[in-house]
Subunit: 437 residues, 4 copies
């Protein structure tokens, strides 16, 4: 039952690192993944609209947007297969790869095991500091103001390598790898979870690197994945000349200021952890014009789905009142949301068993609080609802600075650890019900 991959893990990860693409723009990334999956060889391969219903996407871009087109062109310029890129037009990125290896000997199907990894980068300009290892070793992001600052480059590497290793094993059953786009905007988890590929999952593994757990630690299953929603808002007022007629304006800039100040002031909740953030704001066109328009991208989270709903409702009221105070119209849109889910303890136990004895693993933590959000919860939730089990595991890595910062990096010693832990867990899950061993 031993299984290995022959892929060159650091080479793969660095190639992904050099070409980060933001949510729903992973054209080059998807094309590259397709290439690697084909080279491994699978039974089913579904790309973009084949893998899910585009209408199920959350936080999706305007299909006709010039900006999306530019990402497509850039991907093609960088060598992505043009036909493949066109298939993803409008931002239908990502893929699903399936090994269908029912042994059929006993007339019974083997189990359906899934692995979910995410593939998008972030709008962060990667550090150009010589101290930053990707600079020193020459694989710094080549995409302006975009960076794999959350380790999804490592996740994709694991997705491919585990696929390769399972291919080479005696696994009997159905093994599906979800290369999910748009995790950072909570956009891709929902369509993946709604697709036929997510049907009948007996065991699902979702994985993340790092998150303040050092190289050598494996967390078998996280709890308290915060529920979250993404909120976009636009304030529309009336422009006017700031010198001649300030009174004729309905100032979207003031609505923005009021909204920011009050959003962070939404009361903390007795029932548990909540979060709120206005992450992006843009307003106005010139210093001497009363701003006619302001836009906001924000989010709210809660330790439970109820707490997220509390924050969402207060945030909506805050945005509406801020607009009203300054004579503006507010257009508030909940662009995506993801529920709270906890890992299944039994399947986490399978991971813990798998991690024990893996070379380089020093600590196996059964359970830990997550404290953030992840739209893997959509897939996990579906597995649970259909009677399966799901766990979200963390493979530790020494990272020099926090996730989502310009000098984030992954300790590549964690790459083979992740592959081995995941492969062993997938194979163990494939053998049948835990305890049947």
């Amino acid at each position: 039952m031993v299984a290995t991959t022959e892929l060159d893990l650091p080479r793969l990860r660095r190639a992904f690192h050099r070409h980060p693409e933001p949510a729903w723009r992973e054209f080059h990334t998807t094309a590259r993944l397709v290439e690697e999956v084909r080279s491994i060889g699978v039974d089913e391969l579904a790309v973009g609209p084949e893998a899910y219903d585009p209408d199920d996407r959350m936080a999706a871009p305007d299909a006709d947007s010039d900006e999306v087109r530019r990402w497509m062109d850039r991907a093609i310029e960088r060598g992505a297969d043009e036909e493949l890129v066109e298939q993803m037009a409008g931002g239908n990125t990502g893929l699903v790869a399936v090994l269908d290896r029912q042994d059929g000997a006993d007339g019974e199907d083997g189990p359906h095991v899934g692995l979910r990894v995410d593939i998008d980068g972030l709008f962060i300009e990667e550090s150009a500091d010589e101290e930053h290892l990707p600079v020193r070793e020459g694989f710094r992001s080549e995409t302006e103001e975009t960076m794999h600052a959350c380790g999804h480059d490592a996740h994709m590497t694991w997705g491919l390598a585990v696929l390769d290793a399972v291919k080479r094993s005696d696994f009997a059953g159905r093994f599906t790898v979800f290369f999910q786009p748009a995790e950072e905007v909570s956009g891709g988890g929902h369509p993946m979870a709604e697709s036929e590929y997510a049907a009948g999952l007996d065991s699902l593994f979702a994985v993340h690197v790092g998150l303040d757990h050092p190289t050598g630690e494996v967390v078998a299953g996280v709890e308290e994945i915060l529920a979250m929603c993404h909120v976009d808002a636009t304030f529309r007022g009336t422009s006017a000349h700031a010198g001649k007629a300030p009174n004729e304006g309905d100032n979207a800039m003031q609505a923005l200021g009021t909204a920011i100040q009050n959003a962070y002031g939404i009361p903390r909740h007795a029932d548990g952890m909540t979060r709120v953030n206005i992450g992006v704001a843009e307003a106005g066109t010139a210093s001497n014009i009363i701003a006619e328009k302001a836009t906001i991208h924000g989010e709210a989270r809660g330790e439970t789905t109820e707490l997220m709903e509390y924050m969402k409702s207060k945030l909506s009221r805050t945005l509406d009142s801020a607009a009203e105070m300054h004579g503006c119209e507010a257009d508030v849109e909940i662009v995506s949301e993801s529920p709270r889910v906890d890992s299944d303890p039994e399947l986490a136990g399978v991971v813990a068993d798998a991690a024990a004895g893996v070379d380089g693993v020093e600590t196996v933590t059964e359970r830990a609080a997550f404290g953030a959000s992840e739209d893997a919860t959509f897939l996990m939730d579906r597995a649970h609802r259909e009677g399966g089990r799901a766990t979200f595991l963390i493979v530790g890595t020494d990272h020099p600075t926090s996730h989502h910062t310009a000098t984030f990096d992954v300790d590549e010693r964690s790459l083979p650890i992740g592959v081995e832990v995941l492969t062993k867990a997938v194979l163990a899950a494939g053998e049948g019900e835990p305890g049947a061993e």
Copy 2:
């Protein structure tokens, strides 16, 4: 002493209207003006760095900016002379045209008369409504998100037509037309005023269209041109993951919100009118990241230079304290400023006399409060300091909506009125002291 122009005023104005360019990016505009000036024929023509010292510019762009380069390329694409555009590289736009017509008969130089018009557009997307005349008549802005929404297209038309008319007259002296760039950012007045071309002005006319004065009204000289400053600020904090570690951030978004709220709250002043505006704000990179950076473009004005200084100093303190409150660094820069100047009553009298009897002029208003700012005050101030006279006149126009709005338009009946009033005033000023007639 009668003088006329043979230029087709509406055609000229509409051509400018179709190709607006923002401050310090008037490459196509300048090239087109040069073409027209050459066709009129002048004694001296100075373009960009020939017309002023680029170091004297205020609110100037980064010379190596890609964005400036794109405006240069666009100008060339639209047919601007490439060599001329390259001469303006880095954003050294605008020109000065001079008729040097000393008659020499009596061995004495004639007077130096100046006319200042401004040439830049605004970052406003022009209305596409069929009701909007430029749409109906096919001369809507062809530049995305940029518009002549303040009438500088009419100003340029006047500059050229008056030059043409004076050329055709018996004017004896030196007549300088300043086609000043970057008025909307108070950027071009200062370098023009510091240049040799502004030396020894006996009479200077600056002109504006409209400003809520209807077609048929001429205001001979405005008072209370507000002093103004433009302020840019950047808040630099610390990014962090909004879900995992909100406490690790120093939130530039919160600094921005605090700054906006408090900037508009700077106390009104007993000594007169003040203004403040945060016209543009941008902050953050993603909804789930605590914003590391926020930028602001704002302005402050005062009825007097002292009042402007009061507002500037309060605004600076506000921005600094907002940053400090949220653990951010504030980088506050005063990018430009212009003083308060009033029109010279005597020269305004010359304008009033000139306007009387002009066809289409129904009302001549001797003096009116301006209530806004204008960096023409730099040139006016220089003229006053060197013993000359300056007036800022308004040629009324029926405009359907306010200046700086998407449906602003000029009533073209005001075009010939402006030409005749200005030409008569220039010729009268050229004859010597008013009253000497």
Copy 3:
């Protein structure tokens, strides 16, 4: 026609200064004025409800309030006539004194001339600094946290002394002195103006001391008395334990913070000067309780009545939206307002003529901008509406610090100047129509 008073002006003024009382609580003050008026001897004397209809009062206190009762008791303790104080129960303070001296010789009534002075103090704790003259000379306020910091002590002195002087003159006509309460809250002008005593005023003088004009200057008539309104607001939310259940509160404190921030940010107006102030705020009961209630006392002003209406409407919206943002109810009440009025130039001319030649007068300023508000405008407005003339004059005084500060004081050299200017003006106005002389 010369007229003088025999009253001891500094003694009178200092007596008033020692016993300041706030708006609608001038029980001791009124009683003292009645005593002095009786000692002068008048034809009609109307106190409190005799002088006006209590229902016409603005910003009036709750009639049954314990706090008003305490001011009544204090007045009685300090020696005020008890019966008189009871007559003013509920806060119906102030008085009107009338000399009715029609000469009847020609069967025609002489003119009706009025003088309006105000009588209330301010909630300011007077300085105890030895440098402060009232301390040094022993007439510092004996009322805790209350002070004549606006010079109404001088105004009352003038009211009495001019009454005395006119009594001693050959004035033929009706002379009414309005000792108006509650000017500081714009509360007493309206009922005085609505009363029968204000009917048929041919000439009305209202007077103020100081206002940054030095001893020796007289301003014959002010312009631009700002229109004003007083606004009270209460935010009602829901209290909750700040540690156990912050989410269960609807935080009136947050509504207050939002209201303050946004009130001062109401846009300046192109048409002229505006003002806004939140002068008093109180919220909450304990540091560990989410505040259930917050109250605000504020005001808005405008250079014109329209501008005041603009500010009032924006302020109301601001308060409503601030409440809504935090789930509170807002109860916003306009407790009083006063219109914009300008002095009549002709009657100001009478004052200017009167001031010329008065001992101690060095400068006579025909007209000056006022820049603040005054509910004398109600009386002025009535006079104008009924065909009479009104002027608001200023008798300068050197005051060491600003009005409404703890170290404000009046230069007593201005006391006799005021008496003589006013008496001469009243007598001149009494002679008949200007120009009829």
Copy 4:
């Protein structure tokens, strides 16, 4: 070892309920407690300054304050022993009662067992609604705007009744009851904990009623008593006339608004629960004066002492920056703080054992999160530091509305339950050294 009290519990509790007094003003309350303690009979009784060093008090009032004097007078009026009240002058309220019952048989001292109850009320006006039981049954608060809205009336009843019951038992050792003042402002815990009476506690019980646990539930020991600090701040600016010279003010009202808005926006912390509240604010003196002064009473809490320190430091920065932004001085004072402490599991076990079998107890919860703060932690911390054990237990009660609301009430069925649980626990703890069992 059975012990009972003969006190009439509802009668006692209702008597306390009728006379609530706020922190450091419990003059009548203390006098009444002394009376009851004397009637029970104890070995040591220390009142006010005898019980602790007044200098150790936190959040103590100004000793010479008129307001404190008024509470003293009111207590005397209501029948409190005058000499006793004077002994507490300046606000040194509270008492300690001791039974010293060493049996001495074996020459060894018995254990020192403590019980801490708190005695202060809250500034809340008790509901006058007929539905509210204290109204219906005639024991509504007779103190204006003050109420036992947190159940301290029940706590005192328990303190007395357990003292009585232990007195009647065969308890051998030292039993100290701390009737602690000023819990609501975290003011009395510290001086009690520093006193000699708190020395050598082997077991300490602190108790609270209700807190959302119903009648019949006992929580044996709470965890997560939030660390807390109380913060007072004063902003001092410059007053000015809001109409004449708004620019001359340094507006403490604006500083207040900015402070409120930003205080609630202090970022949530990844490490756990935090709280912040501005509970009381007062600013300004008149609607037409720019406020010279504003005061704030606020608090911050954290799940750990470190988190409280984080909040405290951010809150201080917020207040300082808000002042600076508006040219004011900020005087920020941390008036009291209390640490995070958790109950000792072993001693909680003693409580759980005691609760089992008590009549009316339906549920015994071993441990529960507290989620609020309590300055009982000072005493608990001292016991722990000196090698003893402490637990904070909750005796459930059905309360119709939340603690700290106007309609809070205690279900009196919980009174005997509390007495029996506490008495049994005290006696069990008194049987010997932990571990000696």
